[in-house]
Symmetry: C2
Subunit: 942 residues, 2 copies
């Protein structure tokens, strides 16, 4: 735990490596330790917004730092610890204030905390239905710490629960100056029983570097089947890697017997994309034949299944040569069974739970191996202070480290009245359930779309179908899933929804966004409740569901039946039995439509649906354990509190915007319009009631539905509005049903935003949705147009099928440039790696780069689009669904428009524009050249 962030890593004999990490939204593909980072540290700032206690992600930094640093700083986690007596200024270096010679300023921290407490209490008072008592300064400070702790728990759960490990089976080792402050609390939340704090834990990096081994990593791609026949060539490669590593390490003074070797294979099942790094060496010896069993063991643990009869492919061979440091790292001291009471330096008072408690202060240096401290106690040295909470016992080990045994667990005696501290905690917990459902889905699914492109969303719903929490997966799924769950409730009647049933839906009338997105809904029953207490659901994009073209994204459908299999309310599981026969029949049905095929790979559909069911099962388990922890009454109460909070945020935003517009124009009306490439207008009038923060989003005047598939089901508009409101609030609010509560949506039937039930819709979800966001954000005068498109490319034949969406330029806004080469607004999927694309498909990636100058100029520039050129090596059916090939993404406030996109096909020396939507057979040698649109600029360029 550092000043601005906390890093989490799991160690179990070996350090786990990953090939890819994402930090602050940037994905880095390079072998590295599997470390998760969360933006919560001692310097994380504390806010109270719309009824929520919020920690970070903004940091006070070193300058000005926390309030207590005496530099007009911000209220932070450190200040909260100080206010609660957990940090002692006397034991802290006196390096603060303008001359860097003063102690921490506890009074200032307290004063700041008083201020924010008043905000919290104002909020409590403003809620007439609440019987909640006002909070004290210390209760608020402790609340912030609880929120911070809950945030730190999330990445730990990611590395444990969602990988199949129970966190309570682990030891929590913590580092960094602030780590000891939070260790006991975090352990309690996670059910961890043992904490280990190294004697130099606060000097983590410095001490670690001194101890570090010299590691030489080398790797060679092999791309071969794992089989006896290929062992000799792999052995030879490993031998070469090894001799080269020895020669390199010898220049740093290591002899061969000072080097440990670890042999790795990067292994995956044939026709899947998820390779895992497997090490199977024993005592430095290479045993090629052992890799398979380790791979299968790890694969099963990670994904819950193995693929019995499939070849295993070895992508790369990797060698880690470890030149061992000779530093004597662990001097052990004799441990006396020491019952001698440790030497108490002094006492102080620390706030726990409801009150200040007298706590002894002990110096680390005074403690002897084997000596114990029963909490509450503070164990300090010059670099850190460890808080041993009540119901915990610390003990000094023979290596001089601290071991803390946790006896109690955090108590859950909570009532249903809103409590800002628990509001934040529940918000994190609900979100965490959705996130973990997502991880289960990702790792148990088999298709590239879900597993690699991450084209799925998971969410938790109230008994009325209202969204409670949605992991930030795919924005276009946001409003749609809620619609889907509510539809099932209305359609079947709540009383007919049974435990043991799982529903499948993808039809627009049932809240589907387009047919390939299969939504699987499972009701959550609890004990003797007669109706569901929650719903869990997830939506995943299936690679093929039949219809006109492979990939089921036909640009030329005129009827929804041509787009593949559709389900309005299909019992996927009935009374706990998976309905495989009826499912197969339904997936084959599109084959009866003229010119259409049945689903082309039904076994993948079934596998992915099983993963979707499993994901929901995980959600049920997690929500059930939450109910058991807090009681159904409390969980339901906080569910409502969280929805109300989101509503409040949106109303606040609308009141502000409505007031501003009223002042400027005399009426609180916003208007925006833009055109689809076929000339269809999307027209929006937003009438805001600036008094109560409600608004009507009226799409009257929008053009007629399309004969082809640019029709956006109503769920898409709900998603776009939800997403835009979420962006317009400009704060980290929970995203749920409450966001739409103040909103009335008017969409005339027969328009492109409310098409007929038989209208095809596949492109509405992936294209029209983007234009909708542009129009909404234009009405609010916030952001210039983005690329307004997902650039959907599908190709395949009887043997393969591939789908990708290509990023482009984002629009600029007041104060920021548009980002280049990113997915904007309604999608979030990732693109397949060039190596995988070229290995798995008859395609060569000829070019893949930014498209300079395609973003609109302005005071703030629009982001640049991308150029992607793919050459095909055999005949394939190719479909392309794009937009903004006719109309440029507009700028705002004098900013220039971004460049329109362009789709070219190079065939036999002819380079031709294939237009925004196309479907044709490729010929070997064809090069598809896609230039995606840039974003619009904002403001006049200087």
């Amino acid at each position: 735990m550092g000043g601005t962030s906390t890093d989490i890593c799991r160690y179990s004999g070996t350090l786990e490596h990953v090939m890819e990490t994402t930090t602050a939204g940037i994905t880095i593909q390079a072998p590295q330790l599997d470390i998760q980072t969360v933006a919560a540290g001692g310097g994380s700032r504390l806010f109270f917004r719309n009824g929520l206690l919020i920690v970070g992600p903004e940091s006070a930094g070193a300058h000005p730092g926390p309030v207590c640093y005496r530099k007009n700083g911000y209220l932070t986690v450190t200040d909260a610890n100080l206010v609660l007596g957990r940090i002692l200024p006397d034991y802290f270096p006196k390096i603060f204030g303008p001359n860097a010679d003063q102690p921490l300023d506890k009074e200032a921290s307290f004063a700041a905390m008083v201020e924010i407490t008043e905000e919290v209490n104002q909020f409590i008072r403003s809620n007439p239905s609440s019987t909640k008592k006002e909070l004290t300064v210390e209760e608020v400070a402790l609340g912030f710490l609880s929120v911070a702790n809950e945030e730190m728990c999330r990445p730990i759960r990611t590395l444990t629960q969602s990988r199949g490990y129970n966190p309570s089976d682990h030891v929590l080792a913590c580092f960094g100056g602030a780590g000891g402050q939070h260790a006991c609390a975090v352990a309690k939340v996670l059910g961890i029983k043992l904490i280990r704090i190294h004697k130099y834990s606060s000097l983590l990096s410095a001490y670690g570097i001194a101890l570090a081994d010299v590691v030489d990593e080398s790797q060679q791609p092999v791309q071969t089947v794992y089989a006896k026949e290929t062992f000799p060539s792999m052995f030879e490669i490993f031998t070469n890697l090894k001799s080269n590593a020895i020669s390199r390490l010898s220049t740093q003074g290591f002899t061969e017997n000072e080097i440990d070797f670890t042999f790795y294979m990067h292994m995956r099942y044939d026709k899947t994309d998820t390779a895992i790094m497997i090490s199977a060496n024993v005592d430095n010896e290479l045993s090629l034949d052992k890799f398979k069993s380790v791979f299968e063991h790890n694969y099963r643990r990670e994904f819950g299944f193995i693929l019995e009869n499939r070849n295993i492919i070895v992508d790369d061979l990797r060698l880690r040569a470890n030149g061992k440091s000779n530093f004597d790292r662990e001097r052990k001291n004799p441990v006396s069974d020491n019952s001698q009471t440790p030497l108490q330096k002094s006492t102080t008072t620390v706030f726990f739970d409801k009150q200040f408690v007298e706590v002894g202060i002990y110096a680390f240096g005074d403690m002897l191996p084997g000596q114990k401290l029963v909490g509450p106690a503070l164990l300090i040295d010059q670099n850190s202070s460890i808080l041993i909470e009540p119901q915990s016992t610390a003990r000094i080990t023979d290596t001089g480290d601290v071991e803390i045994v946790i006896e109690g667990s955090s108590e859950k005696n909570l009532d249903t009245d809103i409590d800002p501290i628990h509001l934040s905690i529940f918000s994190n917990r609900f979100m965490s359930i959705a996130e973990q459902m997502g991880r289960i889905l990702q790792r148990t699914a088999i298709s590239t779309n879900i597993k690699e492109r991450l084209d799925f969303s998971c969410a938790l719903f109230a008994p009325d179908g209202g969204l409670i929490a949605n992991a930030p997966h795919i924005p276009v799924h946001l409003g749609g899933m809620q619609y889907t769950v509510k539809f099932q409730i209305d359609h079947r009647g709540l009383e007919n929804i049974k435990d043991g049933d799982v529903y499948l839906a993808n039809h627009p009338i049932a809240g589907g966004c387009h047919l390939p997105d299969f939504t699987v809904i499972t009701p959550v029953f609890f004990k003797d409740q007669k109706t569901p207490v929650f719903f869990v659901a997830n939506r995943g994009h299936h690679a093929d569901i039949g219809g006109l073209v492979p990939g089921s994204m036909p640009p030329n459908a005129n009827h929804i039946d041509q787009e593949g299999a559709s389900f309005v309310s299909f019992k996927l599981v009935e009374d706990h039995v998976f309905q495989e026969d009826r499912l197969i029949e339904a997936l084959k049905a599109p084959g009866n439509v003229a010119g259409c095929s049945a689903a082309r790979n039904i076994s993948d559909n079934i596998a992915d649906l099983n993963a979707q069911i499993a994901s929901n099962r995980k959600g049920i388990a997690l929500i059930t354990s939450l109910i058991e922890e807090y009681s159904l009454e409390v969980v339901h109460a906080y569910m409502r509190h969280i929805q109300n909070t989101a509503e409040l945020c949106v109303r606040d935003m609308l009141k502000r915007v409505g007031g501003e517009v009223l002042k400027k124009t005399g009426q609180s009306r916003l208007v925006g319009e833009d055109f689809m490439d076929d000339g269809t207008v999307i027209k929006l009038t937003v009438d805001i009631d600036a008094e109560d923060g409600s608004a009507t989003f009226d799409f009257t005047g929008t053009g007629p539905e399309s004969f082809s598939s640019c029709n956006a089901p109503r769920a898409v508009t709900m998603s776009a509005i939800t997403y835009c409101l979420r962006c317009l609030v400009e704060k980290d609010i929970p995203l749920n049903n409450g966001c739409l509560a103040p909103i009335k949506i008017v969409i005339p039937d027969g328009t492109i935003l409310s098409p007929s039930p038989t209208a095809p819709v596949v492109a509405g979800n992936v294209l029209t949705s983007q234009r909708l966001c542009d129009v909404i954000l234009r009405a609010f005068d916030k952001v210039a147009a983005s690329q307004g498109c997902m650039n959907n490319l599908v190709f395949g034949d009887a043997n393969c099928g591939y789908y990708e969406t290509i990023a482009g330029g984002a629009g600029a806004g007041n104060g920021f440039h548009g980002r280049s080469g990113v997915h904007t607004h309604m999608t979030n999927t990732r693109i397949t790696d060039p190596e995988i694309l070229e290995t798995r498909f008859p395609a060569v990636l000829r070019e893949w780069r930014l498209r300079p100058g395609s973003g609109g100029n302005g005071k703030y520039r629009g982001g640049d689009g991308l150029v992607r050129k793919i050459q095909f090596t055999r005949p394939l059916t190719l479909s392309l669904l794009t937009e903004r090939r006719s109309f440029q993404p507009y700028g705002l406030h004098g900013g220039n428009a971004g460049e329109r996109g362009l789709n070219l096909l190079k065939r036999n020396g002819r380079t031709a524009n294939i237009g925004s939507k196309a479907s044709f057979q490729t010929e070997p040698g064809d090069i598809l050249h896609i230039a995606t649109p840039g974003g619009g600029g904002y403001g006049l360029a200087e």
Copy 2:
């Protein structure tokens, strides 16, 4: 001959009626006398422009009238007659001048004629290569009269030669005050030997109305096959019509025996559209069985063939009941064989040919029946003066009318040097050849496209392939046909082009615009000339030539082979033998392309190609007779003179425009750009050399070629430029090769305006061509965008095929509103009548009207588009190719843009936008709703 126009009608026992006439561009469909009108009369103004003597179409009107009217009028035909002594002021009423009390002002006419003569002589002097002597005032005045006479001859040729009658077999009867002035000269030009002038010819209308019968016309549709079985029902209808007519006429005082009855049938061959009105009654008696033979006789005379085994359809029955006037109209006087010399009143001098000749003046009232006057002589009364030219003899008939016998004919001893008078005459003659070729093609073709929609062009070409004259048929054929002829010359070598060969081409590399347009080229040989002395060619749109869809206008072709049969240089006739077998083979070839059909109605292709060959044959006959009349040397010389004249006009215009722009912007550069609906830019930079009036049209920067068929072959750009230059000159200039002589055209290969040889092009011709015109006219800042589209609709199945193009709004310009509901720029075809559409095709026309408000507002408003709704009654393949569904037709100088077009399909309660290009199967009950774009406005609305 009236003051501003001359009406021509042919009478041969009965007055011919037509169902439709076009006057000043407006087509009126109502039964009326078959009268052709030409804008040349006594008040037609005289101009000298770019080396040409021009008569009309502007008229001086009554105010201010001709120069001689003493009201600061304009120089007119009347002034020319006055100058030449053909009108005598002494015998004219003294009603001129400010107080309406003065005689005609001959001096003023002469002074004005002196002025224009100086312009003519300046032009002669400015041509250094000419050895032509300067002209006298009288020679110029006589020249203008010759031009006026030649213009009056054109409609006479239309009503005779092009209907299969020889004009010299007719008597010329003339009416109107000025008629007698021109009768002899016109008769000479046409080879007419006898003129008859009624004694009250100058009082035509007044006298005629007094004499007129009372006619009762009634009609009833029957839509039945002409056959014995249907006679009884037809007889009954006629009987009813008759008794109703009798009862109506009886109210006007007619008894049955004062009424003549004429029975008509509106008859046509089954599956053709051209019905003709047949009357076969004998002595007021109805003889139903006689109609067939009269129909066949008339049909053969009109079209040159009959269809032996086809049913004849009777569309309507019609009755004309003629209540005879009792006025005793023709009182005959005894004719003495009167050798008594007529009484000469006085003498005057009249200019003929090269000099003034003394001419006797005779008063009509003094003449006795049977008396003769040998020309030259002037026969006058108070309302008219008849000029009896030399080599003519007039005689008074027993009814008191004048009969003139022409002995000589106009002489043709001309040299090759340019003579402004003959330049105009040749211009009219060349144009007349093209027009008559067109009439032959129209009447001998069998397909609706050519016969009814008039989708064809005919033209005459120089031995080098340069266009000489093109009847104003389809603008988009203009540049293309010249390209096609030149290609054949280059491709085969002039020496290999043989008499007896006819070539067929439609491929873009051979100058084709799109494949359905078949160009048939015939070389013209003369006597012992080794190489062709001219080429005649015509281009006709064939209804189906195979390929992806019926009608051969597929919106979804990606290769030219999918668009049907193509010909680069096919010998349609070789050594006088029609190559039917090879032709059929070529028309079947598209059937070998995947997904494509062979030509679907090869017998129609063959019939139309035969008509095209016949049209060329007519052209050859006409040009041969012209050569025989004037000599090859002279005809070739005037061919070049006319091309040079066109070049001169264009250079004058470019000098003026270039100079203006240079003054305004410092450089003589014009730029224009616009976008196709798919976002492809068409970019034009025109660099004018204001010194010599040349210009480079550079399309560099234009977007890439399309994978589908919006590619415009280079010939299309040539056509568009030719057309626009012709418009920009704003004068009636001959349209030929010379227009493009000062122009250099730069089109980068691989762009939408110069596509690869394998690129499909069908929509380039009908859509991109229109956008090109908009861009050129925008560069010249002349006219706001028009609908930019031809709205091509094709539907059909195995049993029928239909093609139409739908009009829209025209752009406004400085000083004029855009016209509503018209075809603009590159096309000129007409739409099928609702009755024919509904009778012949499984379609019902639900709505067909203007689209109010779709034109852009402005100081000058853009024209409105149209709404057309067609309902289909059985499954058909429908293809739609349209533009301006995305981008609005822009306004200019602050004028608003016109509304974009919209294509909707109503099916099963769903109304969906089918986009700008679509191809699909209709279902019974489907309604196609097409709203065509409006034109852009010009200037700010007040």
